[in-house]
Assembly symmetry: C3
Homo-oligomer: 362 residues x 3
Amino acid sequence: MSHSIKDIAAALGAQAFGAVDRLITSVQEPARAGPDDLALAMDVKYAESLSSGKARAAMVWEGADWEAMGLDAAIIPKRARFAMAPLTALMDQGQGFGAGIHPSAVIDPSAELADDVSVGPLAVIGPRAKIGAGSVIGPQCYIGMDVTIGKDAYLREQVSIGARVRIGERFIAQPGAKIGGDGFSFTSAEKSGIEAVRESLGDQQETEAQLWTRIHSLGSVVIGNDVEIGAITTVDSGTIRDTVIGDGCKFDNMAQIGHNVRIGRDCMICGHVAVAGSTVVGNNVVLGGMTGVTDNIFIGDRVITGGATKILSNVPAGRVMLGYPATQMDKQLEIYKLIRRLPRLFRDVTALKNQTSDDSKD
Amino acid sequence: MSHSIKDIAAALGAQAFGAVDRLITSVQEPARAGPDDLALAMDVKYAESLSSGKARAAMVWEGADWEAMGLDAAIIPKRARFAMAPLTALMDQGQGFGAGIHPSAVIDPSAELADDVSVGPLAVIGPRAKIGAGSVIGPQCYIGMDVTIGKDAYLREQVSIGARVRIGERFIAQPGAKIGGDGFSFTSAEKSGIEAVRESLGDQQETEAQLWTRIHSLGSVVIGNDVEIGAITTVDSGTIRDTVIGDGCKFDNMAQIGHNVRIGRDCMICGHVAVAGSTVVGNNVVLGGMTGVTDNIFIGDRVITGGATKILSNVPAGRVMLGYPATQMDKQLEIYKLIRRLPRLFRDVTALKNQTSDDSKD
Amino acid sequence: MSHSIKDIAAALGAQAFGAVDRLITSVQEPARAGPDDLALAMDVKYAESLSSGKARAAMVWEGADWEAMGLDAAIIPKRARFAMAPLTALMDQGQGFGAGIHPSAVIDPSAELADDVSVGPLAVIGPRAKIGAGSVIGPQCYIGMDVTIGKDAYLREQVSIGARVRIGERFIAQPGAKIGGDGFSFTSAEKSGIEAVRESLGDQQETEAQLWTRIHSLGSVVIGNDVEIGAITTVDSGTIRDTVIGDGCKFDNMAQIGHNVRIGRDCMICGHVAVAGSTVVGNNVVLGGMTGVTDNIFIGDRVITGGATKILSNVPAGRVMLGYPATQMDKQLEIYKLIRRLPRLFRDVTALKNQTSDDSKD
């Protein structure tokens, strides 16, 4: 499918210049772009590869002299990074999941699918599940009983959604995401070592070894509108209340959201993040890759964590955190520098001790 | 399904008071509980929400004046946290997986399923697999050849179990758990840089770049009784001997247990934990979320690790560990405090150096 | 299936001694080996268990007096660890996936499968996918549209491969691996807090809370020859160019390779590793378990990281790294020792301050 420069620019709310009726079939990096591609060169650093390449049309930086670089047509967006969203949406060839309900899908007769829902081969949809208009349930997905999914969902292959999960509109799930597993919650007949350690911060006290007995999850998961869940990310069901994911949250791959967790709206949760049980995360929070958050704490609005941060206690709103244990990023970066200088510090202190010892002999 | 207060209390081994024939349909937090719910208020901090809410029955703390809070009936358990286990087991509505063998399941004729086994839609069961009485094999599960699963197993959707895995009774697997993948074991024709670094702790010596040749896993996985495996947790097959998981172990989501690992009984392995190849873990060990354990080491009985602990060497029995690298928790917490005070220490040492330098000029 | 000692030694390029026509049915550790097993005892530490066990044949260390240990036959390899590769390949009983195309598989008529491709039950193969000769597509796998897989691939159960992914020869994927999910790439209409923090290293500046708009992945994933992907490891599609995995790379379980990442040849990527978007990794790199690599950086050839290393900036070729943040391993090990001695250092400095203060009073 091809699009004119003019139409692309319109979709981006950007300005088009030159041969605006030129047709574009795909998008490429400047060095690889051919005559039918739109080269992406939104920074002056691409000027050379653009001039030496075969592109005839490009999306360029503000003020670029596109004619001098041999282009016939150019698009100049207001904010280059934001223009990538409508541009890639327009050019996405998708997964090619077919329309309609594949005959190999196993759909409970009591499930309610809007007329235009697509269900892929070998998918399973359980009793009384409700799927909104325009939704695509990918191949080999599993939708449990009493699940509700709003309109315009797009589930890649092999996603599973457990009983009673309720999901808003425009939900996207990457391959193998798992929503609504039972929470990890166990108890013991007597006080356990881990309970003692939580109190004492280091001592198992007089506790005896215990057997673990499971606490079932009676709650489920509630997910707002415009949420995207990454490949094989898991969101567990709540124990009594539901686990809650707010509107507009985006999750990367292999994140794990524990039981009872509440996450506000418009958060960005990167890869391999884990948020342990019953923790409450505010709005507009960004958890960098491999961030861990302990259970039963509060993360304020607009908190941002750097990669691999491990949060062991509450974090006030607006803080930017880094490290293990999490510390404010600017302080942590200073500490990292000082730690690298520890060998010298130890030598300095040894020298001072020797000197003082010498002095006292004087 | 509803239960009387009297019957619930009996299931919990707890005392019931007031209108003990009152019927309960579900369990709720105090603020959300309605007249047909059992409010969970096992701590005095819930007194206000209980009084202001609509609950007529609650499970309350020892000594609570339930009548004064407007309740008709109350349950008082001995140990509130432990009472959650039988209570939630009783009230769990489950996943609604049907009884019997779904006609879309693909079951090898040589597989042996006890009479009352349930197999969900589009599940696959391989040659000579044996499934014990009362077991539920969820939708889209895969059970490999020569697998043995004991009685009363409950496998959620999309679980896979590789060839020759042997599992005890009352096994539970959350969505997408993967048991019996091949271990990650590779070798090279000549000594590799990583072999050199393991010896030298930092130097690749004169090694050359190597190709990696795989070592196949001839062993499998053996799992004891009463084990639960979290969503998309993986347990890899052993190289020669089997990987072994002891009775009563509980795993959260996205844990990874490497080839040849042996884990004792009644361990609790939290989310995102990784235990690398050939490591031996004792009994009653608790590995906190994101704990990593290196290969070929020993973790003693009753060791507990805090969140994100990284264990790089053997840990004696009973130790409580924290940090990267793992250190005893009380020492680590002291070190964390001192690290935060490093900027001041560096200033102090600089001042001492200046002063001593001044002194020596005197 | 049994093999003679002579044939096994030939497959290993090793020397055979004694009753070389003796037939072996499986491989065991020395203490467990019976008369029909080959005991693995390539180190002198196994001498006692070999002598006291029931093995009649063993693979032993250079110079072992195998007759004195009661054996009838012995194999002595040149490099014991490397001999494990052909030995385990020979003795592997595999998963028993059947030949041919299972009637329950759903294969698009436009897909091109070489004559001897095996497709397991309930697998799905999309439009125009091409699968090379000798390949095995396991049960419940999903192969998307326009995917190309070279000859002799072996996919365990429940693997998924998204549209347009191109994979070389002899590809192996463990259970549940997911290739070609959409990259995690989002943008906002105005500058976001995280953009500000990347510039300022700690300050969100005057940014306002933003909504996240997705950037679609127009690129796909290209994987070279002889690559193995671990259980539920994910490799995401590129944004414009493809994500690239070089020849000979081996991935353990639960690794996550972000969009646009390029990984060179013959790398070893251990469990729970995450490589964030657009990072470039050289050849022969080894990333230890739980290593994290931030986005948009370069890792040189032959870099090795210890367990749980977190790389926040470029690493030159040949470096051996450890820790968070990553530091050269030898320096990091020294720093770890000094950190453990911090309590004493603080006491020393306090003493020096007191002494100097006393001195100045003199």
